[in-house]
Amino acid sequence: MSTLEIRDLKVAVEDKEILRGVNLTVKSGETHAIMGPNGSGKSTLAYAIAGHPKYTITGGEVLLDGVDLLELSVDERARAGLFLAMQYPVEVPGVSVSNFLRSAVTAVRGEAPKLRQFAKDLKAGMDSLSIDGAFAQRNLNEGFSGGEKKRHEILQLELLKPKIAVLDETDSGLDVDALRVVSEGINRFRASGETGVLLITHYTRILRYVTPEFVHVFAGGRIVEEGGPELAEKLEAEGYEQYTKASA
């Protein structure tokens, strides 16, 4: 049983205040959707929790099972059980997918996986996400299409098995088939009931595959409305206009 608590989080980028007091609690077994217009600060929230150096925390707390994540380095946060699937996964030249994944799994588990077992797990993970085995030898994200990058983010999610996963627009840039494959991956991850998901998205489309218990509307750097899945339907019908006006 895990809990991520975000309390009154305030974040600035280059002296510009972006997050203006975010409060949110995600428990294992729960899926929360954060929806909001472009530029409202959704990625800022995700990156700030993960510890990206570009973002300055100006107030508030982020606790994972009572541990203050903001005191930890980026890699310590990941090893504490936090995972961030990035909106734009970066290309890392010269580092192969398999080498990277083995290093990550070793770091998170605290010991190197048995080579044979790892190869098996990797193969199974790639198969279930319809990723061609040849990708293991390719450089990390280099030359991957948008959809291929997102599948690899979910592959990492499934291999690393974090306590809490923050998925930043994992659905964007996916065609219908890829969306289904990726959603199934997220659902496998959720199936244990021991993990929590914070799903950031711009569109309701993915929520038909990955049903959230809670929906939060994000605008102007804070949560402006909260509800159940029905809120997503309302946003689908009415758009974000009422919130962008209100927060401007």
Binding site: A50, G51, H52, P53, K54, S73, V74, D75, R77, A78, R79, F83, L84, M86, P89, V90, V92, P93, G94, V95, N99, F100, S103, A104, A107, V108, N139, L140, Q156, L160
Partner: protein, 374 residues
């Protein structure tokens, strides 16, 4: 013998066997302005005493001959004319030259290995090597440098018609070594040359790989990786002289630098002379500066004297480790130091992949790995 008569470009105007044709460098010359002369230990001004102990050993596979010969041997100095003061010094001071011959149409099964081992920095040593690959033969040469030495040498690679030569040189010197070396490859018609330099050790290493062509259709690839630690000066000065039509050249060097006063210099000169129509050339240098206090100088020069080139370009970049790369790896739990190692290894590894012999590639990778772990 006086100044060489070949057509001169604005780059590299001098070439001579005669030491007196070269003034003692002062450090103001274009060719010497990056090199800390005081650390050359007298290689450049004749003050070095020739009492050094450098042992050169050669292992040849069946069918390949290796001979130690005197300077009167006609095969010496055929392909290469010394192009600077230290090179001329080495040319005039070596005792015996090593001449390796790969006979016509032969394809030795194993690499030719040359081990250069220094036994101290009490005096200087000079060397000369000629590797002749005759028409249509194919060979691989591995030259390794280890130990401590003050050493200057010239190496001539003479690649015959339709022949192919691959050379890997490893500068894995001890911390106090000083090494100044010219590697010249002369490509006959349709010859192929693949040079790969790995420079890791030494206090000061200055390598000048160059290529010339004596007929059309030659293809040269010069690659290199280097890793400079605190206080090291690693300099690579490349020259590709296109004087015949339809030849190719590709230069790709990558370096990483870390620590106070780690200094690397990369000069990439390419000349495309009037006769060299249809030349296709590209040169690239990329540097990764890992800490403050390290400096990478990178100067590509492309001089085109003909209107008819197939392709000619160059690029040079020097930058820091990309924060986004490190963040991505760290966000997957990989600790900072290891993330950094993975990214640097990847950056250099992309070039090292070019080494086709597994055992050698692994050795180079582990040498880089050891450098990263320091």
């Amino acid at each position: 013998m006086g100044l060489n008569e070949k057509p001169l470009s604005t780059l590299h105007e001098k070439a001579s066997y005669d030491l007196d044709d070269f003034e003692v460098p002062t450090g103001r010359e274009e060719a010497w302005r990056f090199t800390p002369l005081s650390r050359l230990r007298g290689l450049h001004d004749g003050k070095a005493e020739v009492t050094g102990q450098v042992l050169v050993q050669v292992h040849t596979p069946a069918g390949v001959t290796a001979e130690w010969v005197g300077r009167e041997d006609p095969r010496i100095g055929q392909a290469y004319v010394p192009a600077d003061r230290v090179s001329a010094q080495a040319y005039n001071a070596f005792e015996k030259a090593l001449v390796v011959t790969v006979p016509k149409e032969s394809v030795p099964a194993e690499p030719i290995r040359v081990e250069v081992r220094g036994g101290g920095v009490d005096g200087a040593s000079y060397g000369h090597i000629v590797v002749k690959v005759e028409a249509l033969a194919e060979a691989l040469v591995v030259i390794e440098h280890q130990g401590s030495a003050i050493y200057a040498d010239n190496i001539e690679f003479v690649v015959g018609d339709g022949a192919s030569l691959k050379v890997v040189t490893l500068q894995d010197w001890a911390d106090d070594a000083v090494h100044v070396s010219h590697h010249h490859a002369q490509l006959a018609r349709d010859a192929t040359f693949r040079g790969f330099t790995v420079t890791l050790g030494g206090d000061l290493v200055r390598l000048s790989p160059s290529v010339s062509y004596t007929g059309p259709g030659g293809d040269a690839d010069l690659s290199g990786v280097y890793f400079a630690d605190a206080g090291q000066h690693l300099e690579h000065r490349l020259l590709v002289d296109h004087s015949h039509p339809n030849c190719k050249s590709n230069v790709d060097y990558r370096g990483a630098l870390q620590g106070e006063d780690a200094h690397t210099v990369w000069i990439g000169d390419v000349i495309i002379r009037v006769a060299a129509e249809g030349t296709d050339t590209y040169e690239l240098n990329r540097n990764l500066i890992l800490t403050d206090g390290a400096r990478a100088d990178s100067v590509p020069n492309l001089e085109i004297l003909t209107g008819e080139v197939a392709g000619a370009g160059h690029a040079s970049t020097s930058g820091r480790l990309d924060d986004e790369h490190i963040f991505y790896l760290q966000a997957r739990g990989i600790p900072f130091d290891e993330a950094r190692r993975l990214v640097i290894r990847g950056f250099l590894g992309q070039l090292i992949e070019k080494i086709q012999i597994d055992e050698l590639r692994e050795r180079v990778l582990s040498a880089v790995e050891a450098e990263l772990a320091r």
